[in-house]
């Protein structure tokens, strides 16, 4: 496939880069215009002349051609309601996790997090004394009965229609009750001034991007609400080279890790999916597939663990 891309026309250096780039980068094969078609744009009346595949000139309404722009963050009021008709769910396949922590670095990079503040943690777990250990990535569970939302005194953390639980850092008073209430220990706190570039820090806060983080407020995984609004997958899902994270809309009964797509109900049924700490009644939105027929031995992830957990 790569040969076709005219090596002779390229610089010596660019060839190598291009090959590596197309193979490695998180390519989104989506046609940028197609994504916008779902927005149901209304005809603007202004027509543009373009060439069709057949070589004919056709007129298309300009409004239908608009590519999905890099949507500006929605207002915090809209962010509190969410995307109607959707209910997001995540499935994590424990047999694929090798503790590579690409999910962690992609998430930290995308949300400009401080070092040590990991929204995704990959924990070594063992379900019983003689059971085999495995790596378990945890994100916020976006529970359907979230204990953190129940206890927030100022409505700074809230659950939306689409199931995502977000934090409004403009309202958070930093009491950390939500951190005490969360049984999954998924929330982190900005104890000091976040180390982010000034240009990011001066932006107004958007609850869907959770950028910029503010001193004295709580932060956590937000299921990349800004990405899902554009119909794209969260950064952790795209970043994992093993395809451990599956993400989708439970109302569509479909989850994908970017490369493979499964019917959610079938996946959970066939692989005996379960949720963490089900007995607490939090009704999490993240399902786990047991580490059956693992792809990698547990020990292969130990090396990567030392840097943060020596």
């Amino acid at each position: 496939m790569m040969d076709q891309q005219n090596n002779s026309r390229r610089d010596f250096l660019l060839t190598g880069l291009a090959v590596a780039g197309i193979a490695a980068g998180c390519n989104n094969k989506k046609d940028v215009f197609e994504a916008g078609a779902e927005d149901g744009a209304k005809a603007s009346g202004k027509k543009v002349k373009l060439l069709s595949v057949d070589g004919e000139v056709i007129e298309v309404d300009e409004a239908f051609l608009k590519p999905v722009p890099h949507l500006p963050p929605v207002t915090n009021t809209e962010a509190r309601i969410g995307i109607p008709g959707k209910k997001f769910v995540m499935v994590i396949d424990l047999s694929r996790c090798k503790n590579l922590k690409h999910c962690q670095s992609a998430c930290n990079h995308a949300h400009e997090l401080n070092p040590g503040e990991n929204w995704i943690k990959v924990d070594p777990m063992k379900s019983a004394d003689h059971a085999a250990p495995y790596w378990e990535p945890t994100t916020c569970m976006h529970c359907d009965e979230p204990p953190c939302v129940k206890v927030c005194p100022v409505d700074a953390t809230f659950k939306r229609e689409d199931g995502i639980v977000l934090i409004d850092s403009d309202r958070c008073i930093g009491c950390r009750f939500c951190m005490a209430a969360c049984p999954y220990s998924t929330r982190v706190f900005n104890w000091g001034e976040p180390e982010i570039p000034a240009i990011v820090a001066s932006q107004p806060y958007s609850a869907e991007t959770s950028i910029p983080q503010k001193k004295g407020t709580v932060g956590k995984c937000d299921f990349c609400a800004d990405m899902t609004r554009m119909g794209m997958l969260p950064h952790c899902v795209s970043a994992c080279p093993n395809g451990t994270f599956f993400f989708g809309d439970i109302n569509e009964d479909s989850v994908t890790n970017g490369a493979e797509t499964f019917r959610f109900s079938e996946l959970i049924r066939d692989k005996a999916g379960y949720r963490l700490m089900e007995d607490l009644g939090t009704k999490p939105s993240v399902y786990y597939l047991p580490p059956v027929n693992r792809n990698f031995p547990f020990e292969s992830g130990l090396e990567n663990d030392k840097a943060q957990n020596s």
Partner: protein, 295 residues
């Protein structure tokens, strides 16, 4: 002499190639860009070009925004100018083929798209290209929930079916599409057709049970990206159960459970009522005191 020959050859190779290798001559200040082009045709309507620009930083690829490039059809000349694009923050840009190139577009079935970047302060000049043949894809459904996708390519002036093209037939979902059965790809036969049986029974659709089927050719060497959609009523009717407005302990302040509000406010009202009364009492005592002193 043989070892010397080898050394000489090696040396010559290095001398010959070294100038082409910018990395040595630079003081590592200007980066180089990798420009990738992609060709999309959606619903056989209007073809578009997508450009992705990346640069290698510390061994990892990063998207580069704000790079302005010129796109040309076949040749890097003014008459073949497609358009000028600037990449956004994600390093992506896209454009359509303007109607002015109609004649040149119709002249041949195979075209090469060229993107050139003249270089700026941060990056060296560079270019990228992509060669595609014109093609289109059609989708059809038959009874028994059978889906057929047909791929055609342009030969001279007519559409000719193509054999051996990988087609993905799927149900359109959020994020990525769900294959209609467990087979990931279907290959077109000599009639250019690829068929699939729809096995996703009761997959949720919209309120009337409509789902959108898609047939795609992805990143084909010759044809680029082709896709087409069709809406069918094969899904289960979906009713959204919205619990957002329910009164719960985890709802917003305006949707607190009524029993909680009743208990809390009645207690507060009673106790603060008593306190208020007691404060009034102080003023009563004060009045009594003033009366008795005036007596």
């Amino acid at each position: 002499m043989k070892p010397l020959n080898k050394i000489l050859t090696g040396l010559l190779l290095v001398i010959f190639l070294a100038p082409g290798y910018n990395g040595f001559s630079q003081t590592a200040q200007k980066g180089s860009l990798s420009i990738a082009l992609n060709y999309f045709t959606s619903n056989n309507q209007v073809p578009s070009l997508g450009v992705k620009v990346k640069t290698k930083v510390d061994g990892r690829f990063q998207n580069v925004g704000g790079v302005t490039m010129k796109l040309f059809l076949d040749k890097d000349s003014a008459g073949n100018f497609i358009g000028k694009v600037t990449t956004n923050d994600d390093g992506e840009a896209s454009t359509y083929i303007p109607s002015s190139l109609k004649y040149k577009w119709g002249k041949s079935v195979k075209h090469t798209f060229v993107a050139t970047f003249t270089g700026d302060k941060k990056y060296d000049a560079g270019s990228g290209d992509l060669t595609v043949s014109r093609a289109k894809i059609l989708i059809d459904t038959a009874s028994g929930r059978k889906i057929t996708a047909t791929v055609f390519e342009m030969k001279d002036t007519s559409w000719v079916p193509v054999k051996g093209v990988d087609v993905k037939i799927a149900v359109k979902r959020m994020g990525a599409d769900l294959g209609v059965n467990d087979k990931p790809t279907f290959t077109t036969d000599s009639t250019g057709q690829a068929s699939a049986d729809f096995k996703r029974d009761s997959i949720p659709g919209d309120a009337r049970g409509n789902i959108t089927l898609t047939a795609r050719v992805e990143d084909n060497d010759q044809y680029g990206n082709l896709s087409i959609e069709k809406s069918v009523p094969w899904g289960a009717k979906f009713r959204m159960l919205n619990t957002f407005d329910n009164r719960t302990l985890f709802a917003t302040r305006g949707k607190a459970p009524l029993w909680l509000q009743l208990i809390a406010y009645s207690i507060i009202f009673t106790v603060w009522g008593i306190l208020f009364y007691l404060v009034l009492n102080v003023f009563k005592i004060k009045k009594l005191g003033e009366e008795s002193s005036s007596r």
